[in-house]
């Protein structure tokens, strides 16, 4: 018996008061195995102990919400008897330590969250953030991490057979020692075939299926709940190894087993492995679970109860079957060549009881373990403020636009997404970079869904609340720009150390911003993930909430970004907008050309934003626009250039009636703006008027070239090929 010294308790990242609570729950001192079990379940990663109090502020109900937060994924009704299950998860820490496997198992984990609900995964999107690729000190490492992460995502998703259809990739020094890998997955199933991670029926068998348990990933959840230090790089054995082929078999076998009707409840073994799946299923079902570890299939010999319970080996599931029908389940798993072993039973005493060689090695009440983790109201002050407005010189648009299009954040990421199979399952109506949102048809219902991921750490650093609202607004705008109605959201909250009051302040403000915007746009949050302690050596990341929002639309040819025909009017829904020095400090222009971050993010008027979105959806429904593209990073100039990159080389002549300084006019990032080209400017104007939004005609499409004038003064005129080369050919050069 190992004595539990204060040092050992501290190593398990449990505070003295948390330990006292454990003793109180058990009515005795825990043993070593129980200490390990508590430490993972009560880690920040599993228990959300710093964020739970504030997450309650998020709107989670809605007409279409079938399942909100608390399950493995959120579920939305899409009509026709079908539902979609979706969620976003982070795998930030593992991807920094071991980029390939860290990212691969991030994909694997979120896919299991989807199919454990009974839904077949049909889409993955990812939001990636890395340190600067050109940094003289960290650049080489950042390039290596990027390469590993992208290969890892490709390896897992491609083999599993799920299309990776979109996302975002951003570079910023604050992610140097702390890259972000957020993966969104979505699946579809019949409404009556949803499964829940709930144990039920005293005496029912508890069955372990999938890969064997090894010593990999022990304490992964706790690792994700601490800041990085130099020693963290030695934690490579804490990162799991993924096997997408095993996962593919597990998917097929689980779905087939579910269809037998013999499965009562099912949960994947992700963070905290067997520990989490047993006590959570028990807690949700208000029952006990008793397991015998000797029966757990093991990859290695001599594993201790502690190791078996805490292992995060991948591609494993736990299910509860109807007593007497377990053979039907075993038969399916045999067909797919997978191990399925009865390791225990459901009991009536509400306890998680773990035996090893017949001896009880842990006995803990499920509900207290799973749902009564400490809850902290951590003190928060105010978020840190950015610097003052710097003096900055005027520049020539003629020169800056090609440079802006070549910037790592702005340029085409084709290099990345061509490594992802984005078409498998033949549902991809619009894959990467084709429209502002990715679009999938749902064969089963004849309708389509659109998805977008958005976050902006710079905006959120300047104002976590406004930045978070802007992320929600942009995500919804991306969906509206393809004609989809946003219906529900998931979020991944990436922040620094919550024990620092100014970081906690960022988290609280961002959650409140998301709550406000998601309520306003009627996109309830159905689940998500919080990743804290994203700090290395005391340096926190920018607060980076990433939104994933899903919308619904009719199936049909999508309205894509590029101009299609010459002689069409180019109109700017929402108008040119306004900006000042304060609101210019968070833009891509400030980042690329002034190399500073100051002031406030662009101003958002949510009422106006919503009217712009209603208007574009109406225009698309009426078939009035040939192309549509919302303005985001890099503002009007970048959006205009991107509209010129179609196959037929159509360009535009633009005349802007504005008194803004030229660089502000070209690059300010005021929201609520969408560029369209149309054959029917009067009808577009009529709809704009109906929704009370500006929609100036700012130019006309032409055979070749892009020219931007401010009234009569030419700010820049380019051959499209030159701009396109900067946009499409730059990314690879940064990796050399």
């Amino acid at each position: 018996m190992i004595a539990l010294s204060p040092e050992l308790i501290a190593q398990h990242q449990l505070t003295p008061s948390e330990y006292a609570k454990i003793v109180d729950i058990l009515g005795r001192e825990p043993n070593y195995t129980e200490l390990g079990i508590f430490s993972v379940m009560w880690s920040e990663h599993c228990s959300y102990k710093s964020s739970r109090l504030h997450l309650k502020k998020l709107p989670t109900r809605g007409r279409l919400v079938v399942q909100g937060p608390g399950e493995n994924a959120g579920i939305i009704d899409i009509g026709g008897g079908y539902v979609i299950a979706f969620k976003i998860e982070s795998h930030n820490h593992p991807s920094f330590i071991e980029p390939f496997q860290g990212a691969a198992t991030g994909v694997g984990g979120i896919l299991r969250d989807i199919f454990t609900m009974g839904a077949r995964p049909i889409a993955v999107l990812d939001s990636l953030r890395f340190g600067r690729l050109d940094d003289s000190v960290t650049g080489a490492r950042n390039r290596r991490i990027l390469g590993g992460v992208v290969s890892g995502i490709a390896h897992y998703g491609n083999c599993f057979g799920v299309p990776t259809i979109g996302g975002e990739t951003i570079f910023e020094s604050c992610y140097d020692g702390n890259n972000l890998v957020n993966v969104f997955a979505l699946g579809v199933c019949k409404k009556e075939e949803i499964f829940y991670a709930k144990a039920a029926g005293v005496g029912n068998p508890v069955i372990y299926v999938g890969a064997r348990t090894g010593r990999d990933g022990i304490h992964g959840a706790s690792m994700a709940s601490a800041e990085f230090t130099e020693e963290s790089k030695q934690k490579r054995p804490n990162v799991q190894v993924g096997d997408p082929f095993m996962e593919k078999l597990l998917l097929e076998a689980c779905i087939e087993a579910m269809h037998t009707g013999a499965v009562v409840g099912i949960q994947d073994m992700g963070a905290a492995g067997l520990t989490c799946s047993t006590c959570e299923m028990g807690s949700r079902g208000e029952v006990g679970v008793e397991i015998e570890l000797d029966r757990v299939p093991q990859r290695e010999t001599g594993m201790t109860p502690y190791e078996i319970m805490l292992s995060e080996s991948q591609e494993r599931m736990l299910l509860v079957a109807d007593k007497g029908r377990e053979e039907e389940v075993f038969q399916v798993f045999r067909k797919w060549g997978l191990e399925a072993v009865e390791i225990g039973i459901v009991t009536g005493d509400g306890k998680l009881r773990v035996r090893h060689h017949g001896d009880v090695v842990a006995e803990i009440p499920n509900r207290e373990l799973a749902d009564e983790a400490p809850l902290y109201s951590r003190p928060y002050t105010v978020p840190p403020r950015a610097g003052l407005i710097p003096d900055y010189p005027s520049t020539k648009l003629q020169r800056t636009l090609p440079a802006m299009l070549a910037a790592p954040d702005v340029c085409s990421k084709r290099y990345i997404w061509e490594q992802y199979d984005h078409q498998v399952r033949t549902n991809t109506v619009a894959g990467p970079e084709r429209c502002d949102a990715a679009i999938l048809r749902i064969k089963e219902t004849g309708t389509s869904i659109a998805m977008s991921l958005d976050g902006n750490g710079r905006y959120c650093y300047l104002s976590p609340r406004e930045g978070a609202k802007l992320a929600v607004a942009e995500c919804c705008r991306n969906l509206s720009t393809v004609g989809a109605r946003p219906v529900a959201a998931t979020n991944c909250l990436n922040f620094g150390n919550p024990e620092r009051p100014e970081i906690m302040a960022q988290l609280v403000a961002a959650i409140e911003g998301i709550a406000e915007a998601c309520s306003f746009f009627d996109t309830p949050i159905t689940g998500g993930n919080v990743s804290l302690y994203n700090e290395t050596l005391g340096e926190g990341i920018y607060p980076t909430p990433v939104m994933g929002i899903v919308g619904t639309l009719k199936t049909g040819e999508p309205v894509t970004i590029p101009f299609k025909n010459r002689g069409r009017k180019v109109m700017l829904l929402g108008g040119i907008g306004d900006c000042d020095d304060t609101r210019f400090g968070g833009t891509q222009y400030a980042k690329e050309f002034i190399k500073e971050l100051w002031g406030l993010p662009p101003a958002l008027d949510m009422e106006y934003e919503q009217r712009v979105q209603f208007a574009i959806r109406k225009m698309i429904a009426d078939g009035l626009v040939e192309s549509a593209h919302d303005l985001s990073d890099g503002g009007l100039a970048v959006a205009l250039a991107e509209c010129c990159f179609g196959a037929n080389g159509i360009g535009a002549l633009i005349e802007l009636d504005s008194d803004l300084r030229p660089e502000m006019l070209a690059y300010h990032e005021g929201p609520s703006r969408i560029l369209v080209s149309t054959e029917f400017p009067n009808k577009v104007a009529a709809i704009a008027e109906k929704y009370d939004i500006e929609a100036p005609v700012i130019g006309v499409t032409i055979d070749k070239g892009l020219e931007i004038r401010q009234r009569t003064i030419t700010l820049g005129a380019w051959e499209i090929a030159a701009l396109k080369t900067a946009y499409t050919q730059s990314f690879e050069t940064y990796l050399r």
Partner: protein
């Protein structure tokens, strides 16, 4: 007699190996887009039943951990595929299916890592190299089709003798326009000597519906239908 537009004239079999992931896509293309009968055939079957043509779909059979297709060739169903091919049945290997047919010796050559060493998913242009096959009888030689590729190991490789033979016997089915993966002679698809077994790395099933960006791939399945109906 009035022919129903939904008349089912033939039946495709789609083989499912553990790890196949384009099986549903191939099934959908021939059943929904082409409008013919289709059924899945599990990898441990010893018979193909009454199918008129069989598709080995894309994916990662058995995880492809050893070498693409190297384990799948030992599947029980491959014996049935061999017999079916020997009896003149039409066999289509798409992507991983092509790799399996090559490993099984039903087609010559090998498929090795793409020259760029990366997985590539993109639409490519394919030139029809011969219309003299049951897979290209509805298109004409030289016609260019838009069909996507999605593979990491699709670089077609063979010794000079084999290449010469393929060319001399008009057995190159498709060539890339703008070679994406380093395939010798720009080869994207080939035929066996008897011209009833084909393998191609691009995915015609993904280009069988205009909504997916192209319907050019459907011509492959239309050709098979034509060949079966005429036979």
């Amino acid at each position: 007699m009035i022919l129903s537009p939904h008349l089912k004239l033939m039946k495709f079999g789609v083989i499912v190996f553990p790890g196949s992931n384009c099986d549903h896509d191939a099934f959908y293309a021939v059943s929904h887009n082409l409008g013919q009968k289709a059924e899945f055939i599990w990898h441990d079957s010893h018979s193909l039943g009454d199918v008129d043509a069989v598709i080995l779909p894309g994916g990662f059979a058995y995880g492809d951990y050893l070498r693409c297709g190297a384990i799948a060739k030992f599947s029980p169903v491959m014996g049935a595929v061999r017999q079916f091919a020997a009896a003149g049945g039409l066999v289509l290997g798409i992507c991983n299916g092509f790799q399996i047919l090559v490993e099984a010796g039903l087609l010559p050559g090998a498929l090795i890592r793409n020259r760029g060493l990366k997985f590539i998913c993109r639409e490519v242009r394919l030139q029809v190299a011969t219309a003299n096959s049951p897979f290209t009888n509805t298109v004409h030689k030289g016609q260019v089709l838009r069909v996507p590729i999605a593979h990491g190991e699709g670089c077609y490789f063979a010794d000079q003798h084999t290449l010469d033979e393929l060319e001399a016997e008009d057995r190159v089915l498709f060539r890339y326009v703008g070679n994406p993966n380093g395939s010798l002679n720009d080869i994207a698809g080939i035929l066996n000597r008897e011209r009833n077994v084909m393998g191609m790395m691009p995915h015609p099933e993904r280009a069988s519906d205009p909504l997916m960006g192209s319907a050019d791939g459907l011509t492959v399945f239309q050709s098979v239908l034509q060949a079966v109906v005429k036979a």
